[in-house]
């Protein structure tokens, strides 16, 4: 039991298995044993700061999300059917300033939007104002938050020796240890353990989705996953009459003794979590029925529902006076469902959990980003997914600005995660295959974004800095590969490690100490990885930017 690795902590394994893995996992012994440390330092969970994460599963095409408009190589040459068209006003993409706000303007010349305009009628790349990068038009609802200075967009995010397997790469993002599948607990789980509250508070880390993700899994404390807040109760037999009897019998049996087995610690923790958290969600279930709406005329129209749960509440679909106009949807109709478990319903519940309980981290996910075929350019599958991202940030910002209770907008950070990006060059199916670096979005009242005074909210997609974006095709001007051809001529090379982004948020926002951070993200304990300061990674020799001073 002394060998500090994930397998030997577990008591069910046979001696031979343990012995063998003890040898096998010798290289992991520098991974600290989080759970046995003293929980004295840091202010995670004590300072009111909260974190909301959204997992974009399937590998988001970062190149068509945050578009390198200033790179001449981006265009029909590499993406004959997928290149997002550019607008033509002179200097539109190169003039510094605020992000062009297509929720306010109908065209690039500043014509105000009219209520009759279709929501996504502006179908060109949207300049962010950093002189180089542009948003996909489906992300237009990011602009208000960006221009408020509360959003950062980070391009070329990855990790050393990037895996192009969804499942490995998702594991690495979630367990915080690239190229190691044997760490079976998650980066946010460890952050919650470091808070010292994970075994005392019923809610610390919470997801609202079909299953508890690895990022919140661990075997010493239970994080909470709820798939449908409205159904989070027992039935009893027979029905209500026997509910107390059933529930009490269940509670009474939780501490019964059984011989150790592989699954039993997990079951014990999660059953306890179930029975401890059942009462906490009654209020949230009731609030799920509240229709939160924008406090301003959305999109030049009237105030929209922030978390649509039906076609009728989706953007301007139902016009004042009862008319209908499907071109006014803010999200695709797959973003919610009748069962109450769609993305926007889950997002709403996650927001409510952060706002109404002591939970510190909450998150949800949606998939569909594995766009190998018929990806869509300004409409179609990928643009629809991006609409959800853009609207999620808009809706969350408005919700927390208007309804803050235990979580204020200023105390909140929202991050997106996605396991890797997609090839710069499209394939024969009008789709893109697996590649390397992609984009992260970091938003919230505590985020230091664009300030109109020279600071922009875009990182990794500009031609300056220590790891600049290099425009142009390969081998142009003295053998320099353009960034779009950085690896194998079709992959974007990373300039920022996802752990630097999450690390900074965990320390400077949530309140971890640097010592805690080194336990939450083992890479920080290795100065050679340059996660803090930036520089050339000792793992693979690739230069990275380090932390970005995001929060």
């Amino acid at each position: 039991m002394s060998s500090p690795n994930i397998y030997t902590r577990r008591s069910f394994l046979t001696q031979s298995f343990k012995t063998s893995l003890g040898i096998a996992l010798a290289s992991l012994t520098d991974v600290p044993l989080v759970v046995k440390r003293a929980l004295a330092d840091g202010t995670i969970g004590l300072n009111g700061k909260k974190l909301l994460f959204i997992w974009l599963r399937g590998a988001n095409d970062g190149i068509n999300s945050l578009i390198p408009a200033g790179d001449s190589a981006y265009g029909l040459g590499i993406r004959p059917s997928l290149a997002v068209p550019m607008d033509t006003p002179a200097g539109f993409y190169t003039t510094p300033g605020a992000c062009f706000d297509a929720t306010q303007f109908a065209d690039a010349f500043g014509t105000p939007r009219a209520a009759s305009d279709a929501t996504y009628s502006y179908a060109k790349a949207i300049p962010t104002g950093n002189g180089f990068a542009a948003l996909h038009p489906s992300l237009k609802f990011l602009a208000p938050g960006y221009n408020a200075g509360h959003l950062s967009l980070i391009h070329r995010v990855g990790y050393p020796k990037q895996s192009r397997s969804h499942f490995d790469s998702q594991n690495y993002w979630e367990n915080g240890t690239p190229n190691n599948n044997l760490i079976k607990d998650g980066i946010f789980y460890r952050a919650m353990v470091e808070s010292g509250l994970a075994t005392t508070n019923p809610l610390t880390g919470v997801t609202i989705q079909s299953a508890l993700p690895l990022i919140l899994r661990g075997d010493q404390a239970a994080m909470t996953n709820i798939s449908n807040v409205s159904r989070y109760a027992l039935l009893g037999v027979p029905g209500v009459a026997g509910l107390d009897k059933s529930e009490n019998a269940l509670r009474g049996a939780q501490d019964f003794l059984f011989a150790p087995k592989q699954s039993r610690e997990l079951l014990k923790l999660q059953y306890a979590n179930l029975l401890n958290t059942l009462p906490l969600f009654e209020q949230i279930a009731a609030l799920m029925n509240v229709n939160y709406v924008d406090n301003a005329n959305t999109d030049g129209d009237f105030p929209y529902t922030l978390f649509p749960n039906s076609n009728a509440t989706n953007g301007g679909y139902v016009r004042p006076g009862g008319g209908t106009d499907a071109t006014k949807y803010v999200v695709d109709t797959g973003a919610y469902n009748a069962a109450g478990t769609g993305f926007l319903q889950n997002l709403k519940a996650a927001a409510l959990v952060l706002n109404k309980t002591d939970a510190i981290i909450a998150g949800t996910e949606f998939g569909g980003f594995d766009t190998h075929s018929n990806q869509g350019t300004t409409s179609g599958s990928h643009p629809n997914l991006l609409r959800r991202v853009g609207w999620a940030f808009y809706a969350l910002r408005k919700y927390f600005l208007q309804n803050a209770d235990r979580a204020t907008w200023d105390n909140l950070v929202i991050v997106t995660l996605s396991e890797f990006g997609r090839a710069t060059i499209e394939n024969s199916d009008s789709g893109t295959d697996h590649a390397e670096a992609s984009v992260m979005c970091v938003g919230g009242g505590g985020v230091r974004g664009w300030n109109g005074l020279g600071r922009t909210g875009v990182f990794g997609c500009d031609s300056g800095g220590s790891v600049p974006w290099i425009p142009g095709p390969a081998d142009q001007g003295g053998g320099v590969n353009g960034s779009l051809f950085g690896v194998g001529k079709v992959y974007l090379k990373r300039a920022i490690d996802y752990r630097s982004v999450l690390g900074e948020v965990l320390r400077d926002h949530l309140g971890a100490t640097q010592g805690q951070l080194a336990r939450i993200i083992p890479g920080y304990a290795n100065p050679g990885e340059k996660l803090l300061s930036g520089g050339t990674s000792s793992v693979d020799g690739v230069p990275i930017l380090g932390e970005l001073n995001l929060v």
């Binding site: 027992l234 009459a241 009748a338 024969s428």
Partner: protein
């Protein structure tokens, strides 16, 4: 008394066969006043505990009767100053342990009946049964059909119309040819050729197209059709039709029935050809076309011969003596030889019905308004000379809305009867219900074969099933099939070679606007994969290559992983999706012997692998072109795919196949790019594999091929990958995770990763897990033909890891395993053929395509046949267990255990009623002597034994106490209400037992397998 006087760690082992815990359970002692309490930790799978003591070690230990045994504790007030104590454990017998393991892993959980049977025949014999499923009857999945040509069907309804529109071009554009593809006969009538696109508008340009007059002179006959004659026996309209009789295949001029249209058609004139035809038992593909290059080809699938289906049901009669027949909706069916007999043997004994063979007209059968057009017909019969033709204008429901016979003599309320009949099912998705009158309570004699298992299977077989039908069928098999291991393996394969119904549907939506059609065709792809795997698994020499090939050729896979539009011709860049997952997920495992450049190289082999609507009779020909055979029900226009007849299947398009090849599984130059692969030599099997594999090269060079030969590139890849050491290893690992426990990490060929050393087969100290994988690989490798599945499975089932506590109870059930096991745990066969627990399937998987509101969706989004990510559903418990999913699991159990009339039972499912039916009281009354029915302890003990057979009664003592307390408490949870005082036929008794069983099934231990 001081602790040192106790022999704390001493444990008496009274068993031999099992691998035992390394450390005996520790004992602790507390002393307060005069009470001594000894406590211990549970010992795995303990059947009983006993306290022994000795005052003098030299005299040995003897059972100590001075104290009382409580769960994991023993208390005594014995005041003797010195005493040595020892804990005795009677472990669960090794056969009982293996039986529980086998029923939990090779099956979807134990059933009461199987627990009894396996105790008799022994677990090894039971496992051997499952390993030879071809010898196991599986009546559940089989339905009886008799294909007979003695039943030609109703001519008026079997005439099929073909309409085709096209251009008349070329010099022979006015020649009309009619011929068959081989030796055979077909009837043809009302052949019309009109100008324009409407078959029914305009003058028929053909002379004698109705074949009412002799064939000459307008028609001329080539020698191969010279035997054709007019038939006045059969016609679509008028008095006659053409009986086209062919002695050799036709093709056009010189080998067909021919007429030259006069005056000749204008060049490029749009014309429409239409006709009716009636196939015979000796039909061949019929073509009617114009000459010239702008031909119109038409014809049709051979229709399915009429199939008589046998159905039977046994049940209990209630008061009234009326038998009702009714379909669920409008349609046509045939019924014959309906018999109602006393007892449970179909057709044995006197038929209580009058005129069940419909040989003497309709009487005494009566029909209500919806069925007024039904009649006895004499041209169709299963037996005798007539049958009953059910013609329904709407659905029926029973009394007042059905076909019925009343006043049946000899029917006694409460007695068991069996009904049986033969019928030709409705062509549409209609079910036929046959039942005795009554209020619809359990046990009533009701036969609805089309709605039940045989109906689902038949619906899927005939390409009429939607996804929710397929899922319901899958679940009914999981719960009820005897070939349980086959069902477990089919789910494993479906999940390993994962595909997504929704993506298929989306693909087909380009061709069909009818959402049901999209659903049906996509479900058919899933079903055909499943059927092919099932057939393979029933062969003794089934290999992994067989299974892999089925997956690769499946339209569902070709669409799912995007080879369907992948092109390698010209400057196109092949789609990498399938190539990547073939390495990563289907064969070698991630990072286990390939790299990105191998993916690029492999992706080119799959270019041109697409799917298409292939013509009738050519569904298995990957070189066939898209069907041009028009169906009889025009859809979106004459040139629409939705108007074509054929089968969607794998098609290889050599025009899209790339020739840019590099040998895959090479060592690649670092100067390689995705567009310029530079191989330096073969990859070698890493050292950790040991003999006979280590160091062997495993590069695959694909020869230059042209044209249709390019299809071989893909098969080369499959054949090569199927038996690579890394593939054997990865598949063995996955099977071990399925059957043993989840902690078999993914193997890798990257030496810097710890998993490399874990699976080092040259290490003499390798773990039992690594050794089991190694043994599986050897079994795979040494089988002949190589790659057989059964030897690998046998290796696992014979392993210590599988058979002992190292494997038993280590896993958490997936939502599918959990829900099926809930039903199975209470499922015993009644003497009347019904069960004490059953499911309609839909109540687990839902009645909608997206599975919304279905328990499997709620318990973790396990939507069968519709996984969006290609890694399949996880085998790891942590992926399934969270507070939210546990709440849903508890709700599922509680709803399933509610009585059928409980208002909460449906729990918001999107089924009309919860079809997860359980009757634990009926079960206990079957299995326990009546003297025990009111004994709370006996009742609790029985259910503990069937719900937790692997645990050992010694470790279930706390559950036992809780169950007894539950039985002795009223529904409010606080008032004492002795179980022994409840009448065993009362609702209170029923509810008490249901609640107690639900309570046990919502416990942690029932989540395990």
């Amino acid at each position: 008394m001081k602790a040192r006087h106790c022999l704390l760690p001493a444990v008496l082992f009274a068993f031999t066969a099992l691998a035992q815990p390394d450390v005996p359970p520790p004992l602790s002692l507390t002393v307060s006043n005069q009470t001594k309490v000894l406590r211990w930790s549970p010992y795995p799978h303990a059947e009983a505990y006993q306290l022994l003591s000795a005052t003098n070690l030299a005299q040995g230990f003897a059972p100590d009767g001075s104290g009382t045994l409580a769960p994991f504790a023993w208390a005594t007030t014995n005041t003797r100053p010195e005493q040595f104590y020892r804990l005795g454990v009677t472990p669960l017998g090794s056969n009982a342990l293996l039986a529980a393991q086998a029923l939990n892993r090779l099956a979807y959980g134990p059933t009461p009946d199987e627990l009894e049977r396996i105790a008799v025949i022994g677990p090894d014999a039971w496992i051997e049964e499952q390993l030879a499923p071809e010898n196991l009857p599986d009546t559940l999945d089989a339905y009886t059909t008799v294909v007979t040509n003695a039943v030609p069907g109703d001519p008026a309804t079997n005439w099929l119309r073909v309409v085709a529109t096209g251009l008349a071009t070329g010099t022979s554009r006015s020649n009309v040819y009619v011929y068959l593809s081989g030796v055979g006969e077909v009837y043809l009538d009302d052949l019309k050729l009109v100008s324009g696109t409407s078959p029914d508008a305009g003058t028929n340009l053909l002379v004698n197209g109705g074949f009412e007059a002799p064939l000459t002179p307008a028609w001329s006959l080539s020698p191969n059709v010279a035997g054709s004659t007019l038939s006045t026996q059969v016609s679509f309209s008028g008095q006659a039709s053409l009986r086209l009789s062919s002695t050799a295949p036709g093709s056009g001029e010189g080998s067909a029935l021919k007429q030259v249209v006069a005056p000749v058609l204008t060049n490029n004139e749009v014309v429409t050809l239409s006709f009716y035809y009636l196939p015979t038992t000796n039909s061949r593909l019929l073509t009617v076309r114009l000459g010239g290059s702008g031909t119109i080809s038409s014809g049709s699938d051979l229709p399915q011969p009429p199939a008589w289906v046998y159905a039977q049901a046994t049940g209990i009669a209630t008061a009234a003596n009326t038998l009702y027949l009714y379909p669920s909706g409008a349609g046509v069916a045939y019924l014959d030889e309906i018999k109602l007999v006393a007892g449970s043997q179909a057709g044995v004994g006197v038929n209580l019905l009058a005129n069940g063979g419909f040989e003497t007209g309709r009487s005494p059968w009566q029909v209500s308004a919806d069925f007024a057009n039904s009649a006895v017909v004499s041209n169709v019969a299963f037996a005798g000379n007539a049958c009953f033709n059910i013609v329904a204008s709407g659905g029926g429901s029973g009394n007042g809305d059905s076909i019925y016979q009343t006043g049946i003599p000899g029917v006694v309320s409460g007695n068991v009867y069996t009904v049986s009949y033969w019928y030709v099912p409705f062509t549409k998705s209609r079910s036929l219900t046959v039942r005795l009158s009554g209020s619809g309570t359990a046990g009533l004699l009701t036969s609805t074969p089309d709605a039940g298992m045989p109906g689902l299977r038949r619906r899927l077989d005939t390409r009429n099933g939607q996804l929710h039908h397929l899922r319901a069928w899958h679940l009914q098999n999981a719960v009820g099939a005897r070939r349980q291991l086959v069902e477990v393996l089919l789910q494993f394969l479906e999940n390993h070679f994962v595909t997504e119904h929704d993506k298929s549907r989306n693909y087909l939506s380009a061709y069909y606007t009818d959402g049901t059609m999209q659903d049906v065709l996509s479900a058919d792809w899933e079903f055909r994969e499943n059927a092919a795997w099932r057939a393979a698994l029933l062969r003794t020499d089934c290999t992994f290559y067989d299974l892999l090939k089925t997956s690769a050729q499946s339209p569902a896979m070709i669409v799912y992983l995007d080879t369907v539009n992948s092109r390698g011709d010209a400057r196109n860049i092949a789609n990498e999706n399938y190539a990547r997952e073939l390495f990563e997920l289907f064969c070698l495992g991630v990072d286990n012997g390939y790299d990105q450049f191998d993916i690029v190289a492999q992706s080119r082999a799959w270019t041109g692998w697409t799917v298409d609507l292939l013509p009738p009779g050519q569904a298995g020909d990957p070189f066939a072109v898209r069907s041009t055979v028009y169906g009889s029900n025009p859809g979106n226009g004459y040139n629409s795919v939705s108007n074509l007849v054929g089968t969607w299947n794998f098609r290889f398009r050599s025009d899209r196949h790339g020739t840019n090849r590099a040998p895959l599984l090479s060592v690649w130059s670092t100067n390689s790019t995705s567009t310029n692969l530079i191989p330096l030599g073969p990859k070698l099997v890493p050292a950790r594999f040991g003999p006979p594999w280590a160091g062997t090269p495993y590069q695959l060079a694909i020869p230059g091929r042209t044209g249709t030969n390019g299809i071989q590139d893909g098969y080369d890849v499959l054949r090569h990958l199927a038996n690579l050491p890394m593939t054997m290893e990865y598949l063995s690992v996955k099977l071990c995770r399925l059957f043993v426990h989840e902690d078999f990490p993914n193997p890798t060929t990257r030496p810097e990763l710890p998993e490399y050393a874990f699976y080092d087969y040259t290490n003499p100290n390798r773990s039992a897990e690594a050794e089991l994988v190694h043994q599986c690989m050897l079994a795979w490798w040494n089988s002949n033909p190589r790659g057989q599945i059964r030897p690998v499975l046998r290796t696992i089932f014979n392993s210590e890891l599988f058979r002992t506590r190292a494997g038993v109870s280590q896993k958490v059930k997936t939502p599918l395993e959990f829900s099926a096991s809930v039903l199975r745990a209470l499922r015993s066969t009644n003497s009347d053929g019904t069960f004490t627990a059953s499911t309609d399937g839909y109540s687990i998987t839902g009645t909608s395509r997206d599975g919304s509101k279905a328990p499997l969706t709620r318990m973790g989004n396990m939507v069968l046949f519709d996984r969006d990510a290609p890694d399949g559903y996880p085998e790891v418990g942590a992926s399934w267990i969270s507070a939210g999913t546990l709440a849903e699991r508890c709700r599922f159990v509680q709803a399933a255990l509610m009585s059928a009339t409980d208002t909460n039972k449906n729990d918001g499912m999107n089924t009309s009623a919860n079809g997860n039916l359980t009757d634990p009281v009926a079960l206990l009354k079957k299995k326990l002597p009546s003297a025990s029915w009111s004994n709370a302890s006996s009742v609790a003990t029985y259910f503990l034994g069937i719900l937790f057979p692997a645990e050992g009664m010694g470790n279930l003592a706390q559950y036992q106490q809780a169950a007894v307390a539950f039985l002795n408490t009223a529904d409010n949870g606080s008032t004492s209400s002795p179980f022994s005082l409840l009448g065993t036929t009362t609702a209170a008794y029923d509810t008490r037992v249901r609640g107690m069983v639900a309570m046990l099934m919502t416990q942690q231990r029932f989540q395990e397998q």
